[in-house]
Amino acid sequence: MDDMESARPQQTVTARGSGLVACTRCSRVWPADRDICGRCHAPLQSRDPTALSRVWAWMAVGIICYIPANLYPMLLTQTLLSTSKSTIIGGAIELIHHGAVGIAIIIIVASVLIPMGKFVAIAYLALSLKHQVKLSAAARHRLYEYVEFIGRWSMIDVFVVAILSSLVQLSAVAAINPGPAAITFALSVIFTMLSAQSFDPRSIWDAEEEDTE
């Protein structure tokens, strides 16, 4: 694996610092006054001043959807003997009672820890642009990459509900149906992904450059 040779060694040179604008889609650089990339037709903007407000806006709707997702049932299970409704947490607790601790952990991680962690991490990254924080730019960049990579995995529980509801339809003997939380949870995951995608990681490094100057 080779690391790239910097255009000017020792100190990192940025496209913006060199009077250029970089296309984030295809990595081509253009003179700063160009507004459409000639290679991939993406709109060019050195830094998007509205990015941060979009991050907060998507995150707000994400959190709003996440609350009912935890309060309402995700699954409605009917068997000959009983009818039960289970929420995300309730479902995980049931799994522990059945001895499936590993699966319960997957559900809790994917449906509780990852979404909560994402809200905190994105908020931290957004705040770190305006305020002094302990983590270095490199560490915050890594945090951003984790958030981007892991966010999609929260969809697991929605897919579990989809599979169970299509599979377990055995007339009166056993039937599983989706509860209202399935839709609000899926929306919450989608909005949080959009929030993370709106964040521009280049701004993490901009703040550091201004500090060192």
Binding site: M4, I103, L167, W205
Partner: protein, 211 residues
């Protein structure tokens, strides 16, 4: 003119899309990768016959996904009653009433987007593999393929299946259909396919062959 998939323009500049660091493009041997020194994003990766392999794997994804949607996926039986379900049934589990939108979303995430992405990649790469000019609108096609990347969730669906099987195990007997194995294979193929798609190399090839 033939289009090679190795970068060769030494003088050209490249900016890290993640942190804006500016570099001169270096030419790489097959199997080498060039990373951003500041944030370690992979900027260029050079793999032998990357376009041909990515195209072949995309075709495999399309074929397997069609198979995985048509054939029975899983079946459950309890007390003499049996129900089998396909991937499409799973996607349409929410079809009744207000949950309809969720059905559409699930179908898109696990079937439509992975297929569409592979079809677009095939459309973009096939002419390049044979050293021809790209098809019309190849730039837009690749743009959409890239935009779909985070929303293609076949691998997450497979983990969902594993969790669902454990939940159902003490309620009923579970049988596996051919689509189940196709879908499992599909996840592996998608991961390998992704490793052969290097954005910069493809954009560069599209750019060069247009001139």
């Amino acid at each position: 003119m033939t289009v090679d998939d190795t970068p060769e323009d030494e003088g050209e500049l490249i900016a890290c899309p993640q942190c804006d660091a500016l570099y001169r493009v270096v030419s790489l041997d097959h199997g080498e990768r060039a990373n951003c020194t500041r944030c370690h994003t992979v900027l260029i990766s050079s793999r032998r016959r990357a376009f041909a392999r990515a195209a072949a794997l995309s075709l495999t994804v399309v074929v397997l996904m069609i198979g995985a949607t048509i054939f029975p996926f899983l079946s459950v039986s309890v007390a003499g009653l049996t129900n089998s379900s396909s991937v499409l049934d799973a996607a349409l589990a929410f079809a009744g009433g207000p949950m309809f939108a969720l059905s559409v979303a699930v179908a898109a995430l696990i079937v439509l987007i992975p297929i569409a992405r592979s079809v677009l990649v095939l459309y973009v790469l096939t002419p390049l593999v044979f050293g021809r000019k790209p098809f019309r609108h190849a730039v837009d096609a690749f743009r959409y393929a890239e935009a779909m990347r985070p929303w293609s969730m076949a691998e997450i669906f497979v983990i969902g299946v594993a969790v669902a099987l454990v939940k159902v195990a003490d309620l009923a007997r579970v049988g596996f259909g051919p689509a189940f194995w196709m879908f499992a294979a599909l996840v592996v193929v998608i991961v390998v396919q992704d490793s052969y798609i290097n954005r910069w190399t493809i954009w560069k090839a599209l750019d060069r062959s247009r001139q």
